[in-house]
């Protein structure tokens, strides 16, 4: 698919490259992002995958990928990408593979790795200007082990680690800014529910070299507690309420790729998920809902100023 420019929804691929029969949950928002991205990146790719839900994609003898895939410890997927990039470069240099056989090296991890355990390895990879693509599918918790909190968990979300019914007391870490502060070639946020925005970003990053990083919000029916049929609806609400800003960083500048003029109240997003149910039952917690809303409003009033 590379090389073809996608401008309209009609031009999105309608046959898919990622294999079916994976062990991801029905309605997995992370798998939706991966299959949309894979359609554009194509089979000339090699993945390094930190432990998490997606490391179950390739369980011997099954794999949905058309190319190679390497399993790594939670903290070291970007380091594995370095090793593979170096090996490819050596092979190219010694002419043991023709330039046409070069591969794109992609690191695939959850938020537990990206925001936490693997952050140091990612930072170091950016320092070394590693030529790779990083995809973090962010389901806002340690999904594979039963949705314990991670530093991507949003305020008030109930996780398996919550001791009380008030949910996570902290706030979601701003990984986009942390990554962008390293001034890599490209950083963007995406979501499976906005496939055109996603496709255009993946096409844009393929034109670049160096570290190119994506964070995709991955609605997770199992960990967030909603009916699997709602994955896309919840993803779209995340954008429409402004809780998941779609943006990209390149050339020292951050631009929002979608600015919602009339943002929906965040409770429309929260209400559909069991992890936030305690904000509405047994009685409405107006204070917490207003706090979450205020943080979103504050983000956007700053963001719009900065963009223009």
């Amino acid at each position: 698919m590379a090389g073809k420019t996608i401008r309209r929804l009609q031009e999105l691929p309608s046959t898919h490259l990622l294999g079916t029969g994976t062990p991801m949950c029905a309605g997995c928002g992370g798998l939706e992002i991966l299959h949309e991205i894979y359609d554009i990146l194509g089979p000339k790719t090699v993945f390094t995958n930190a432990a998490g839900c997606m490391s179950l994609l390739s369980v011997y003898p099954y794999t949905p990928f058309r190319g190679s895939w390497l399993y790594t410890a939670m903290a070291s997927a970007p380091a594995a990408a370095q090793g593979i990039r170096d090996a490819l470069d050596i092979l190219l240099e010694k002419k043991r593979i023709p330039p046409g056989d070069d591969l794109q090296v992609i690191t695939l991890t959850g938020d537990g790795s990206a925001y936490g355990m693997g952050l140091s390895a990612t930072s170091a990879a950016m320092d070394r200007n590693l030529d790779f693509i990083y995809l973090c599918y962010d389901n806002e918790g340690y999904g594979n082990t039963g949705q314990q909190y991670s530093s991507a968990t949003p305020h008030a979300a109930l996780t398996a680690t919550s001791r009380t019914s008030h949910g996570y007391p902290g706030y979601k870490k701003d990984l986009f800014s942390i990554w962008a502060a390293h001034r890599p070639a490209y950083v963007a946020t995406v979501i499976g529910a906005e496939p055109l925005d996603l496709a255009q970003k993946v096409e844009a990053l393929q034109e670049l070299q160096g570290p190119r990083l994506l964070i995709g919000l991955a609605p997770c029916p199992t960990g967030w507690g909603f009916d699997p049929s709602l994955t896309v609806k919840i993803g779209r609400l995340a954008v429409e309420t402004g809780i998941w800003p779609l943006k990209e960083y390149r050339d020292d500048r951050t631009v929002h790729t979608r600015i919602v003029r009339h943002r929906k109240p965040v409770e429309e997003y929260l209400q559909l998920q069991d992890r936030f149910r305690h904000l509405f039952e047994p009685e409405r917690n107006n204070r917490e809902i207003a706090l979450i809303q205020a943080r979103i409003d504050q983000y956007w009033s700053k963001a719009i100023d900065a963009d223009t």
């Binding site: 999105l12 029969g21 062990p23 949950c25 199992t222």
Partner: protein, 314 residues
């Protein structure tokens, strides 16, 4: 010792069911072991949970090979070899099945003599919001057939296990569990008998095959081909099937094909085609189709319909 095995699909709350029943046993003064077992499988895939409960310390470990009671949350699992519902059942093993068909029908169908108690389905398959209450209902019914767990211990166990989910969820689970407890107590004339202890002496080692310690190039689990995952039929996870009405499909920009998380809808001859061998039944496509051209049909009905069509054709 009571040995109980729960079978369900990920998302049907069997892990919760076993926790509730385990805690109820504990409140009755039993020693309890309670463990869910799931691996790479996810929501929709068959999962298991085990309980051992005894008045004496429990030294037995591992999976339960010979259960005294088998609890099945979803009767579509019974014919699935991967679910192993009937594995290791003995003559007195009681089977508790969530099904709208009778125990007699199931006994005949499976050609077994075991006592089979059925707990009627209450439309959970159609309304997936109800799915998460199946666990508590199954725990309640299991407590009912066991006969040694009081209504109070059951209610207390639900409080302990689900209290943090808030009063509304708790109340609904408690009501469901107690209702199935009462229904089973009233109707079922079966009793679960405790299995005896299993002595260690006659234990035969499995026929292990010793693998030599090989070089990583030989022993590492390397997959030498792409796309092998298609051999896994995740279509078996489905309880509801998406069915496209081609007279309503307007061949939009293939919304269904892009949004299907599993990528199982492809476009052929300008029509979207669902690969039912792999569709997991999440129903994202049903929710997203702008023309409302995709309907959600219970898998059982869809299978019956396909069988009928196949019959006509032959």
């Amino acid at each position: 010792m009571f040995r109980i095995r729960f079978h369900g699909r990920g998302g049907q709350g069997m892990k919760t069911a076993s926790r509730i029943l385990g805690t109820a046993f504990f409140l009755e003064g039993y020693e309890v072991q309670d463990a869910p077992r799931y691996g790479a499988e996810r929501r929709g895939a068959p999962i298991f949970a085990y309980i051992r409960a005894d008045r004496k310390p429990i030294n037995e470990r591992g999976i339960i090979a010979g259960p005294d009671l088998v609890v099945v949350a979803d009767d579509s699992l019974v014919p699935l070899p991967a679910a192993g519902v009937l594995q290791g059942i003995r003559e007195p093993t009681v089977i508790l099945l969530k099904s709208c068909e009778s125990g007699a029908t199931w006994r005949q169908r499976l050609n077994i003599k075991n006592p089979i108690v059925t707990l009627p389905e209450t439309g959970e398959a159609e309304d997936s919001a109800e799915l998460r209450y199946i666990g508590a209902a199954c725990a309640g019914a299991a407590a009912g057939v066991l006969g040694i767990i009081s209504r109070e211990s059951l209610a207390q166990a639900i409080q302990e296990e689900l209290g943090r989910l808030g009063e509304a969820v708790l109340a609904k689970n408690r009501a469901n569990a107690l209702a199935s407890f009462d229904a089973i107590k009233k109707s079922a004339a079966v009793n679960v008998t405790e299995g005896g202890s299993i002595p260690a002496q006659p234990y035969k080692r499995p026929a292990w095959i010793d693998l030599p310690f090989e070089d990583a190039r030989i022993s590492a689990p390397v997959i030498h081909a792409g796309l092998t995952s298609v051999e896994v039929r995740t279509g078996l996870w489905r309880t509801m099937a998406p069915v496209i009405d081609y007279s309503l499909c307007r061949g939009c920009w293939w919304v269904c094909s892009t949004f299907c998380p599993d990528g199982v809808i492809s476009v052929r001859d300008n029509q979207p085609v669902i690969d039912y061998d792999h569709c997991k039944g999440c129903l994202v496509c049903v929710a997203q189709c702008p023309s409302h051209a995709i309907a959600a049909v219970p898998e059982k009905e869809e299978q019956a319909r396909k069988k009928a069509v196949a019959g006509e054709a032959s």
